[in-house]
Symmetry: C6
Subunit: 250 residues, 6 copies
């Protein structure tokens, strides 16, 4: 890895850590600004950012241990400790189900629909990540494609169910809330799409140092959008719904 | 231990630590969402996850100290400090009784039945773990089987008492709560079953590096399910019961 | 010390540290569950567990510094730093008086009896520990027996006064509370009895590595029972008395 | 870098870290002094100072690692770790949008205008920083000027929109608040102007050690003014508006 | 210093640190148990114990740095860092005035008498410590005696004023409170007397390792009594006065 | 630096750090004891002490790094890291304006006078410190005198304005408050006077090790008086004014 590349990846990681950490703190501190009914969505979202901050902290340490500088402004070479990519999958295994939980919690659906939705979505998300991991670790392309395809089925299922559910709930929301829920939908599809694309990088022969940098930056930026920005939009929806239900929260 | 094996075990430990830590924090923060009557169950469950997080922190340190990398991407060799397995038994000695306490607390039984149940279950659980430990440490199979069998008696006793009690309480619960209590029962039997199976691994000659990795991953996953998922289901039951008793908590 | 012995002692210390720490946290968090009148007993009990956790943290550090591993799975040899036993006596000097204070506080006796009891018990407990220490440090048996006997007088005095007082208070308590107070009495006598027995070990020639391990495990287990379990029983009594005085706390 | 230069830069960094940290703490502690409606502006401002404090902490560490003293009172020479400038751009990427959010939040505009303003300003600010970064990294002047010019367009757009909006809001504010809002405007333009100027330093051939010191001091002082002082003025406006709406807050 | 001596001093310091730290925490946590009028006395007392805990933490570090073990169970020799005694005088300079403030605050005297008392006592206490320090540092006996005598004048003045004031206030207190105030007086004179005596040790030629151990133990025990026990008695007086003024605090 | 000198300076720094830290904590904890109107003065004063504590922590570290012991009880020699004096000026740049803010906040003047006073005083104080710094760094006497004189003009201006304002406000305060405000004035002039005097030390040829020790001790003692004692007097005034306005706070 050249000096410039090491710095860029390091800065992007530090950017992700800072935004995760402070989004979590921000959400926890501003719990009081929404009705108790919506607070759980904020707490779940703060936990998601918290878990991500913890994992990025681990990733930065492993990144520092994994690469050592040779000379002033010179390249960085790999050390025996190596850089541990699997942290991301461990992180997703925890955060993806919680993200779904968060989305449904803020819609404040009647208990029945909420229960049925969760029992469908959460297992599907775990399945998606579990199927994806072997593909990530596999070196030659064929098994990568097979596992990738397998993991895309639950992926599409989740997107489908969420999309239908979110659209259905639009009718019951006051005007501006509907606008935000629509933005939430686009944000979800846009950010979650990045992961499969980054996954396919090695398949297209993009496997050198540049590709490594591109993937790390891609993953991190997608993480920040899918967790922090997503969390803030959830916060805005909760604010608007609280204001609609009880003008004190205007 | 090969490089891949070390990484997998390390990641599973880190996954367990993250989920324990954040479940404990989540439960503590959302105490306000349930009636005071049910808060104690949440606090006990947070303590269980807290204790487990503390022990996994110790396990990861001992794992890092115990194995040192030889070359880039090379194998890991054992160091004189060694890897301390006994942490798990120490952890169970504390968490298993508390898990039972947690289950009974959330059912909010009349004080008399609660007292009698506890005096039967807690000693049995301590006995089960105490009898199990010598078997774990013993090297040749015969004593392992003897101690294992001895420890299974209290194990079955606990399952029996819990099962009967949970089923009896089903009648007195509102509809959806009953569903969750049933799910709690299955979760309990499923996860607690894993431990004796992992215990029997060495007996079936599965004793090499692979077996070690499999046991560690098995124990950790079972821990996460038996503590975190269990705690979250307890949280849901507490939420539903609060909503039933007092619509403010809907 | 053999490898196995080192591990067992280490695990027992870590068990004690974990249970002390989390009992203290548990008691602090659940203060709200009892009437203000009984909260002081919980705070004192949390302080006792806090002090013990602090001392066990010191004991583990001194234990690690004191012994160094020779080879993989090999024995541990003593280093110049040595293992500092006196922490226990320092710990008792603080916690024993507080334990007595805790017991009397939860009985919520009228102020006069409470004052007189304390002025008799606290000095006696300090005297007991002070007299015991020289015996502990002395090497040959005769001074050990003399000091031991001297320290047993205040010991018996405390047990006598506490026993009489607890029994007298039984009459004024509601039914189930009386049951718990009885259990408290047995627990007190059972656990406090262990200390003099462990003290007498060297006298019976039990002075090798095994005896050392046995004493440490004995002391630690007695500590956990006399502080954590004792604290939890106090918590239960406070809960029951609060429920009796004010059904809101049922 | 000469000894004097190292000390000055070090002290300015430490000055910035201290003011950021304590402004954040001050704003968090004095939330209670304003109406709930204005609290979010304070929380956002505290987050901005928090993020800046975190980044200055990183900058100081990287500065210490990057330069090592040769002799008593002697010069400092660069080490292979080097000094990482990019932290500033990462910091701006987070704080500039939040600063805009903060300004609009304290004006408590009707929800519609607020939404439209934000959707215009936030993307523009991200664009400004993104366009600026390549210029910063580029060595020869031409690309620097090109990127610089590109980034100035969104910069002017933001200033224009903010200026118009702030002036429009003057009419609806009580007298003294208007005075403060005017001061806010001048502060905004004054401090944000410093950054492009520091950016142009290398272009005017100012590239030696002195220029480095000047740029760092310039950026840090501008940061402190644009974040801490800005935050305190926002606090004063919130205080005055609360006093106007509800004399209890006088 | 022999091994035994080092251990004893070390344990006494650790005892003092533990009791100071936990008394401070105890007082802070139980603020709610007294009327707001008396809370300031508790906060001041917690600050005193906090300052003492901080200084004992420094003393232990300096003690560890100052002495290094030669062999297993062997003697400890002085290292160039040396053991810094002056911490005690720095500690007294802060805590003695606060102790006086604490005593007067709990008596809840009318504001006038309180102001006049403080303006007399606080300067006297600072004078006492200031005059004492040169004596402590002086090596030969004559200057020691001179400074000592000088410092004893304000010492006696403080005791006289406090004694008179405490006795005068006895009349206005309810019965049991008077008893406690009397105990406070004896405690004050007893503990404060120890310091001048320890000060005179070197004068009587007691200057070897034993004398050093005796002085350190003497000072520490006196500190614990004069700060922790004193603080707890103040707490009891505050409790009793609150109960007298408002039965809710019974 | 001789061993004795190093110890004295070290102890004075540690004294300052302890008093700053605990005054800040004390002020934060006792916010509840004054009317909300006066709380901001306490928070500002706590921030001042917090900033000073942070800087003294930095000063102690730099002092320890800067000097290394040669032999047991021997002298300390300067290391290449050197001792960084500029921390004080950085500290003053932050605390002096806040001290002025604090003084005006506690007088609770009508908003108009408060605003005008602040806009005059704060810039003057920044100017004073800014002008003073070059003098401090300059080696030969002439520039020192010039810069010193320049900085004394704003210094006198501040004292004049504060003096007039404090005296004018005397009329509107209840009796005892006036007494305290007078004491505040004397304290202000006495402590702020020390700084110019210490500044002039090198001018009078006092430049050896002794002078260094004297200046450090002088500055630190003045800091403690000007920040901690000043803060406590502000606290007393706030207490008295609250008691005057609302007898509940008596
Ligand atoms: C479809 C697909 C994948 C999808 C991954 C996703 C959708 C990850 C989402 C992560 C989030 C949202 C993280 C942070 O919040 C994999 C596993 C890469 C493997 C190949 C196919
Ligand atoms: C039956 C049996 C065992 C059972 C262990 C169990 C049931 C452990 C449960 C642990 C939990 C629930 C941990 C975390 O929450 C042993 C001791 C392995 C020994 C062999 C027989
Ligand atoms: C009678 C006796 C002793 C009693 C010790 C006791 C009773 C200790 C209790 C400790 C507790 C309860 C600790 C933690 O909570 C000694 C000193 C060993 C010396 C010999 C005689
Ligand atoms: C116009 C311009 C720039 C503007 C930067 C600005 C306006 C930064 C503001 C930063 C703040 C306000 C930070 C902390 O709060 C760059 C990127 C230097 C590049 C060249 C052109
Ligand atoms: C009379 C006298 C002295 C008195 C010291 C005292 C009275 C210290 C009290 C310390 C406390 C109470 C500390 C902790 O709370 C000195 C200075 C030794 C010097 C010689 C004469
Ligand atoms: C007049 C004068 C000075 C005054 C400094 C002052 C007045 C500092 C006050 C500091 C405080 C109050 C710190 C802590 O709270 C300088 C700069 C030494 C330079 C020479 C002339």
């Amino acid at each position: 890895l050249s000096n410039g590349q090491f710095q860029t990846v390091y800065n992007v990681f530090s950017f992700a850590l800072a935004s995760m950490l402070f989004t979590a703190l921000f959400l926890l501190v501003s719990q009081g600004r929404v009705l108790p009914r919506y607070r759980q969505a904020l707490v779940v979202s703060a936990t998601v950012c918290g878990i991500a901050a913890y994992h990025y902290f681990r990733i930065i340490n492993s990144f520092n241990e994994g690469f050592a500088p040779t000379a002033i402004g010179g390249d960085y070479t790999l050390t025996p400790f190596g850089f541990n990519e699997a942290y991301r999958y461990v992180d997703w295994l925890l955060t993806v189900p919680l993200l779904l939980l968060e989305t449904i919690a803020v819609l404040a659906l009647p208990r029945a629909t909420r229960a049925s939705l969760l029992t469908k979505l959460i297992p599907a998300s775990v399945l998606m990540i579990a199927l994806g991991y072997p593909g990530e670790v596999a070196i030659d392309t064929l098994p990568k494609m097979l596992w990738g395809a397998a993991s895309t089925i639950p992926f599409l299922y989740i997107l489908y169910v969420l999309f239908v559910e979110l659209t259905k709930s639009l009718g019951r929301q006051p005007a501006e809330v509907a606008a935000s829920v629509k933005r939430l939908r686009i944000l979800l599809i846009a950010t979650w799409g990045v992961y499969p694309i980054s996954y396919l990088f090695p398949v297209f022969g993009l496997d050198g140092a540049d590709a490594f940098v591109l993937r790390q930056v891609g993953y991190s930026v997608a993480d920040v959008l899918a967790k922090c920005l997503y969390g803030l939009v959830i916060y805005k929806i909760a604010r608007m719904k609280s204001a609609a239900d009880d003008p004190v929260f205007a």
